[in-house]
Symmetry: none
Subunit: 427 residues, 2 copies
């Protein structure tokens, strides 16, 4: 609900929409990174944004989508279809939809000709097409490529901006010309500020129950989102300026952290790995991992954090039992008696990796990621997590669910292991 | 233009649309990977697909978007908003839009209760809400999570399917139930067959130049896509039946593989890790890894492949030099003289991990992932990759580019190391 509640406009109308044009999006050939990038930019500008649409390179369908949007929103951001090929029909279709003639812009022709000359190419009919804009539209210059966009208000209370689909060109045009223009417009109302609180060890449903009253707030809004094991709450406040918006965020942020206690592990760019590394850094302690079913995933998560090397020493990937015995000195008797997926083995792995690396802390995981290898006693999704530190060792079994896929179980195991170490370090 | 030309339907009407529901998409918090995945699946099923829409968790706007789509298309695929929180309002909104009452489905309650019990959790009101479906709708079972979807034809000639927004759940439901159902429907006209060829070690531009004539084909179409290090070509053929479509694919597939030689490492679900594991399995040989800058990423990629354990033994994460020396017996003299990022150390790591695990093959990486730690001689992005096998050992330095981000360098290092082993194994 986050951004929805903030608009000054009720019902269906108002705000901005994004329209991405390109058959490659309908075929699933590429991810729609432009929509995501523009969505973040609109939020940062405080422009409410209610809908994204994708249509192919088809004039009739594009025409319908544009006219529908013109009846609903104040601002339409279009990407794609500005190139030189016959497939690129955005400008001509928009002109036709609003009954405006196309006019050749001499200043655009000149820029395009100069750019092409730099690459030893002559002005061809396709490039010439790119200099045609509807009467009344302003040129939205393209500092890096050939195709310019436009800023056009074909109807009172409705403006549209067009950009090429190439992300780098679109972004350069957005920053240089669109942002300054948008800041002057009446639909830029104040400033939005967002923060994402991150949680582990609590499901989306249970979390939502505990903060139900805050999920109903209007400003800031609080919206839950569930990833793989991690649940996040996105807080978004609107204010006349950044300070006002931040001041609205702060008390709700504090209240959420207080209510959810140790489940909250950080905010924004924090990860379980970065939080654990920082806790150990503050203590001047080091960490090593002993991984069976994750095959190196815990280590990779730690190594993904810049500057991990002052805390993270490395460890042993003990996928085969022979490696558990050889490098980690897990007793063969434990393996035979309890099986590789057991508290005894997880403990021995955690202690073994501390011994062989000299780390202050050892984290170990051994489990059944599936799809094969499960039994009634030890089903797929069962993982034992061992922790060993200066104060002693412990291990526990966790069940991530028999129906889960291998990668899901591996991802949750990585997070759960790091979270157990976090809880141990924060008491 | 590819998919546009294939439809039997003219003008605005017919075909499928995708509707993704979630304010997090409007805020730009996440990429719309679901839309892309579904678009590829629809293309593979031969179902024409004309529009994608994103709306937030807002009942009124969702209602409008659904009713508009119902007036335009035959099939609407909805994702998101099926969770247990008050924000999740997809099912109730759809029921209301088409004037159908919600009914509790006992069989769904039972499944949800069983799943929750496996995780030691009780049935709460939010979960109970997930068992409500509009009268007349069929349950679309969720084999891995709690929220089921539905298959519903609220009006003649218009059907809708709902899925949770969690990609793994959505994909499992799609494959198990939606695909068989869709194959029976009249809008599945003819058959599309797709194949994705996967390449490593060649850029998208160079690859496209070498197959420019094939990229211009009409049936099958061939579309390039660049990921992180990997480049793919998607071949899509349309035929009256599967055999006809496959017969169109085969010669182009063969021609592409012939032209691009060893750059092509596999097709469809193959990964560099799965290909390397299979090559070693055929030889009855085993593999261990010694990882510095990737911190376990190569091991995690191998462990992500089901059944890896008969080939992959594990290895050593030698992030700190002390671990390189202690567990892998890298000579302190090599570290002092050549530095940790050097051929001498990569070689010693690869040989060391074979020795300490007993594996037939050892792969080692040591490099500078950045953002810190670079120098003029050894810039960020420099990685040395060592290979050791029954026939001897070798090492080489690779530069992934100083301007690249840490994760990009780590991801490319994982792929490059596996690819070097692949090339060694295939001669």
């Amino acid at each position: 609900m986050a951004i929805e509640g903030h608009s000054g406009i009720d019902g269906q109308g108002g705000g901005a929409e994004i329209l991405c044009i390109g058959t490659e999006l309908l075929l699933g050939n590429i991810l729609n990174g432009n929509a995501r990038w523009l969505a973040e930019e609109l939020a940062a500008l405080g422009i409410a944004h209610y809908r994204q649409t994708v249509v192919g390179d088809n004039s009739e369908r594009l025409r319908h989508a544009v006219l529908e949007a013109a009846g609903r929103c104040e601002l339409l951001i279009c990407t794609g279809g500005l190139g030189p090929t016959p497939d690129d029909l955005t400008t001509a279709t928009l002109a036709d939809a609003f009954g405006a003639p196309l006019e050749e812009r001499p200043e655009v022709i000149e820029t395009i000709a100069t750019r092409l000359a730099q690459r030893n190419r002559a002005l061809d009919p396709g490039s010439r097409k790119q200099a045609l804009l509807p009467r009344g539209a302003a040129v939205l210059p393209n500092p890096t490529g050939t195709a310019p966009g436009m800023i056009w208000s074909p109807r009172p209370g409705f403006s549209l901006l067009t950009f090429p689909g190439v992300p780098s060109e679109m972004q350069a045009m957005w920053r240089a010309t669109a942002v300054p223009w948008l800041r002057q417009q009446p639909f830029s109302r104040g400033v939005l500020r967002s923060r994402t609180l991150r949680f582990w060890g609590i499901g989306e449903g249970r979390l939502a129950d505990r903060v139900a009253d805050l999920l109903a707030l209007d400003n800031p809004t609080v919206a839950p989102y569930a990833g793989a094991g991690e649940v996040t709450l996105r807080l978004t406040a609107r204010g006349a300026d950044a300070d006002t918006a931040e001041a609205l965020l702060a008390p709700v942020d504090q209240e959420l952290r207080q209510r959810l206690g140790h489940h909250c592990f950080g905010a924004d760019d924090a990860s379980l790995a970065s939080v654990v590394l920082e806790l150990l850094r503050q203590r001047g302690q080091t960490l090593a991992v002993a991984e069976s079913c994750t095959g190196g995933g815990i280590g990779a998560a730690l190594a993904a954090v810049p500057g991990a090397s002052d805390v993270f020493l490395g460890g042993v990937i003990a996928y085969a039992n022979s490696v558990k015995q050889g490098l980690l000195q897990v007793p063969g008797e434990d393996l035979a008696r309890h099986g590789a997926v057991s508290d005894a083995v997880a403990l021995a792995m955690a202690e073994g990796v501390r011994r062989c690396t000299g780390a202050d802390w050892g984290v170990a995981v051994t489990g059944i990621a599936g799809p094969g290898g499960g039994s009634v006693d030890k089903p797929v999704g069962l993982v034992h997590i061992g922790l060993s530190g200066p104060g002693g060792s412990q291990s526990e079994g966790v069940r991530f669910g028999e129906s889960r896929e291998r990668r899901w179980i591996q991802t949750l195991t990585v997070g759960e292991a790091l979270n157990r170490l976090r809880l141990e370090l924060t008491g």
